[in-house]
């Protein structure tokens, strides 16, 4: 019998008395981080980490809690990114207004997806969600007059944030992005917490565990699935807008491509689906890993241990190929997690550290 305590959303396992203190300490540490570390690369890594957490947390609401595995979340990510970016570049509307428009567009997309796709169950819903994201990507590619097509959009200038004529912050360094990212992480975690501890959370979980039983208890399935999707789309759109403004360049494959959709799902699968900290753990695994693989750090570390000489045949092979192998290693990681840690890394760790919670017969 497998230990199910980790996925038991309403179990009290995750909330012990020390937890608020630990959370506050971590938050304080994160808030002070930019004053202690000034290296732009460290800040960049942290911002990527935040972005990944926001995306994972957003997907988790519809995928983890309500059990509707959307593999088309790039649609909402891209809707946010493109709306904010277009408003800023074409119509000179500052991004902090643009994000609201981005969210509105994402909700419209979510309503279309929901009203069509939630008639389908299981694999059909997954396929339909992919299809919608692909339609958006191809439309963006081809509506050249509006979206600039495959060339993408480059942010030439981000207007500084001013309140009553006073400049609050300009966006010339990474620091403001760091705090915005941190704020969004807190926001998504709070939203997830609220959803989990409300009637909605119970409804979502009931739908995930047994649609027929949920139906028989008078839960309006379509309505509640749509609510889950809309909340999720709103937050994903925020992540998309944040990404667009931070990176300063978007094109259809990077914000609307299938790999974005898959990546969002992976964050949750690897961390632990349907738990508050799952996306955090998943991001902590995936972001450093993909950075390390991309930057040849691993090959250099192997040389540093002296196990392989950089000039030997194996060494040259590693140096040339390891950086390109990140997709392969990513894939292997997913297979390992699915086979050996079906509740994600978080569930696996909990299984090792805590005794079984449920009383058994």
């Amino acid at each position: 019998m497998k230990d199910t305590s980790a996925k038991n959303v309403h179990g009290k396992a995750g909330f012990k008395s020390a937890e608020p203190i630990v959370t506050l300490l971590v938050l304080a540490g994160l808030a002070l981080f930019p004053t202690l570390v000034s290296s732009p690369y460290s800040l960049h890594l942290m911002i990527l980490l935040f972005l990944s957490i926001i995306m994972g947390q957003s997907w988790n609401i519809v995928g983890g809690y309500a059990g509707q595995y959307s593999v088309g979340h790039a649609a909402y990510f891209g809707a946010g990114a493109y709306t904010t970016m277009l408003l800023m570049q074409q119509w000179k509307i500052a991004p902090w207004y643009g994000v609201w428009a981005g969210m509105a567009v994402a909700v419209v997309v979510a309503l279309v997806v929901g009203s069509i796709c939630f008639r389908l169950r299981g694999p059909y819903f997954v396929l339909a969600s992919i299809a919608v994201a692909e339609i958006l990507r191809l439309s963006t590619m081809n509506l050249k007059d509006l979206t600039n097509g495959a060339e993408g959009i480059l942010a030439t200038e981000i207007p500084p944030l001013t309140i009553a004529g006073k400049v609050i912050t300009d966006f010339s360094t990474k620091v403001p992005f760091y705090y915005i990212g941190l704020g969004l992480v807190v926001l998504t975690i709070v939203v997830t917490f609220l959803v989990q501890h409300s009637k909605l959370g119970y409804y979502f979980q009931a739908i995930r565990e047994d649609q027929d039983a949920a139906h028989s208890l008078g839960i309006n399935l379509t309505f509640h699935k749509n609510i889950a999707l809309i909340v999720s789309a709103l937050l994903t759109s925020l992540a998309g807008s944040f990404y667009a403004i931070y990176i300063g360049f978007i094109d259809p494959p990077t914000v609307l491509g299938l790999d974005i959709s898959v990546q969002i799902v992976l964050i949750c699968i690897i961390g632990g689906i349907g738990t508050i900290y799952g996306p955090v753990v998943g991001s902590l695994v995936l972001v450093p890993l993909s950075e390390a693989l991309r930057s040849n750090i691993i090959a250099e570390a192997i040389f540093a241990t002296g196990a392989v000489s950089p000039t030997s045949g194996v060494g040259v092979f590693l140096k040339e190929n390891l950086a390109h192998a990140h997709a392969l290693i990513y894939g292997v990681l997913v297979v390992v997690v699915i086979l050996f840690m079906p509740d994600g890394v978080l569930g696996f760790v909990r299984k090792l550290t805590t005794k079984r919670k449920g009383e058994r017969s």
Binding site: T4, D210, S216, L217, G218, G358, R360
Partner: protein
């Protein structure tokens, strides 16, 4: 209380219900019996609006319910306990029961209903904090019925509650159904266990290949030569 008139239903091209007439009066236990594929469960699904009938009418307390959505039917007081104990495996017993009490009409009486369920099924009280999926088949069936009761049903639809239970538990479940009925809940019961379900029923209907072939008092049906021959092997 419930009046079904000339109900016809088909799954795509396959017609499964033919002009079903069925009536349940307030306070009754009505059993619908028949062999596999006779259309018993489909009849229940039509009442709880999980499927939409081709034609015919279903009146509940004078209101036509064929046009309602399934969650509206639950709000009117018709609750189905689905076949095969569809409980939420990763929620605790208490959480499973709470799931039944979120609709408006049941919220206020959540605690008293919970007590009532625990009195009917002391076993559930013992297992309050256990995950639903880790319980035995009989306990899960109790949980499914208990969860249905949490919604304050006027009419409880039970779909094969004895399916897959040990003979000892089967008798137990039927006693509990009688007790629930004594507490004022009208019950429409669909069963393959013809003897037990007709024994506790006030009235019964016999379905064969989607048609009502016999109806009458429970004990009369038990003594009916056709029923004895076809279902009881006598």
């Amino acid at each position: 209380m419930l009046k079904i008139d000339k109900l016809n239903f088909s799954y795509d091209d396959l017609k499964v219900l033919w002009d079903i007439d069925l009536e349940v009066h307030e306070g009754e236990i009505v059993s619908v019996v028949g062999s596999n594929g006779a259309g018993k469960s489909t009849t229940l699904k039509n009442i709880s609006r999980l499927v939409r009938p081709d034609s015919g009418s279903i009146l509940f307390q004078g209101e036509e319910i064929t046009k309602l959505e399934s969650h509206q039917v639950v709000e009117r007081g018709i609750v189905q306990v689905p076949e095969g104990r569809k409980i939420f495996p990763e929620m605790t017993v208490r959480e499973n029961l709470r799931m039944g009490s979120f609709i408006k009409s049941a919220k206020a009486t959540r605690e008293s209903n919970m007590e009532r369920v625990f009195t009917l099924f002391p076993r559930l009280k013992e297992r309050e904090k256990q995950l639903g999926g880790t319980m035995s088949g009989g306990e899960q069936q109790m949980l499914a019925i208990g969860r249905g009761l949490m919604t304050n049903p006027k009419l409880l639809l039970l779909d094969e509650p004895s399916l897959g239970l040990s003979p000892l538990l089967v008798g137990n479940i039927f006693e509990i159904i009688k007790e629930i009925n004594r507490q004022g809940v009208t019950i429409l019961l669909v069963e393959q266990n013809v003897y037990q379900s007709l024994r506790i029923a006030h009235r019964g209907y016999v379905l064969e290949t989607g048609r009502v072939v016999l109806s009458g008092k429970g004990e009369d049906l038990l003594n009916d030569p056709h029923v004895r021959k076809a279902f009881l092997g006598m």
